[in-house]
Symmetry: C2
Subunit: 154 residues, 2 copies
Amino acid sequence: MTRHDHQLHEGEALKSAARDRLTKQGEQWTDMRASVFDALAGFDKPASAYDIAEAVSKKQGRRVAANSVYRILDLFVGANLARRVESANAYVANQHPDCLHDCIFLICDTCGQTVHLDDDSLSGGVRQAAKGAGFSAPRPVIEVRGTCEDCSGS
Amino acid sequence: MTRHDHQLHEGEALKSAARDRLTKQGEQWTDMRASVFDALAGFDKPASAYDIAEAVSKKQGRRVAANSVYRILDLFVGANLARRVESANAYVANQHPDCLHDCIFLICDTCGQTVHLDDDSLSGGVRQAAKGAGFSAPRPVIEVRGTCEDCSGS
DNA sequence: TGCATAGATGTAATGTTGTATCTTACCCGA
DNA sequence: TCGGGTAAGATACAACATTACATCTATGCA
C-alpha cells in the first residue's frame, strides 16, 4: 500500500478544503451545501442520502427533502468531495479532495465501519485490465466486504 | 488476464451444471428455481430481481412476486450459481459455477452490457490489501464502469 | 394410510433508495 | 428594475429490497 504524504484534512480544515475545491470549480458553496457536507463528514460510517437528509432536517428544524440531498451529493461526487460506496448505497466524505485516486473501501458487514485505502498499483491494474478488454473511460469500483478487526475479535 | 481452461457452460449444459451444483449442496432444484435460473441466464445483461420476476411471470402466465425471486437469487449467489453486480443492483448467471473466483465486472454505462473477467492476481492483491488492514473473510467487489468497445465506436 | 414436519413458495404490506418535473427563491448583471 | 440563471423546495413516482405470515408440498415415520 502506498503511503500518503499529502494533507489529511479533518473538521474545519476539511470543510474549508472542500469549500475551496468546489469554488475553484466555479460552483457555489451555499449554506445548504455546507450543511450537507457537515452532516456527511459528521458520520463515522457511510451515510445514505436519507440519513443525511434526516441529519440536516434535525439540525435545521425543518424538513429537507431527499432529492435536494441527492443533487448536492452528486455534485460532491463529481467534484471529488465525496465518494459513493456502491455496495452500501451510501456516501462518505473524501478526506483529501485535492488528490485524485481510485480508492478502495473496506466495509465491515457487522458494524458498517468503512476504511479507505489508496493503492494506485491495484487500481491501476484494474484499469489496465478494463482497457485491455476494450473499455474506455474506466472508473474502477473496488470495495471489499468483510469483518473488521474490532468485530472479528469480539 | 488469466485464460480459462475450465468449462464454460451455456444453454442446457449450463442449466444442468447449475442443477448439479445446487443439489450437491443439499438444496432442491425446484421448478421455480429452474425458471428463475432460465430467466436469469436468458438475459444478455445484468437483470434486476424485478426484471426476472417479470420474465418468469410472462412465461408462466401468472404473477410471480419479487420476494420469491429475491429468495432464490440469494440462494443462487450463495451457491455460486449467480453473482450480484453491486454497482448495477442486478444479477448475472455464473458461467462456470464449479470454479470459485473473485470476478471482475466491466459494465458499459451506455448499453449495460457486462463482461466478466477472472484475474486472480488482481483480486488476490485486493484480498491481500484487505487482510493487511485487519479485515477477515474478505469478499472483494471489483467492478469497472465505463464504455464498451461497441459503444465508444459509435 | 395418515399425520407431523421442514422446506419452498405465495400474498401483502412496507421500507429504502433514486429520479423526474415543476415551481419558487435568490443573486447578479444589464 | 428587469431578465436570465442557478439553487433549492415540493410533490410524485419509479426502482430496489425486506418482512411477516399464510399455504402448499414432499418426505419420513408411527
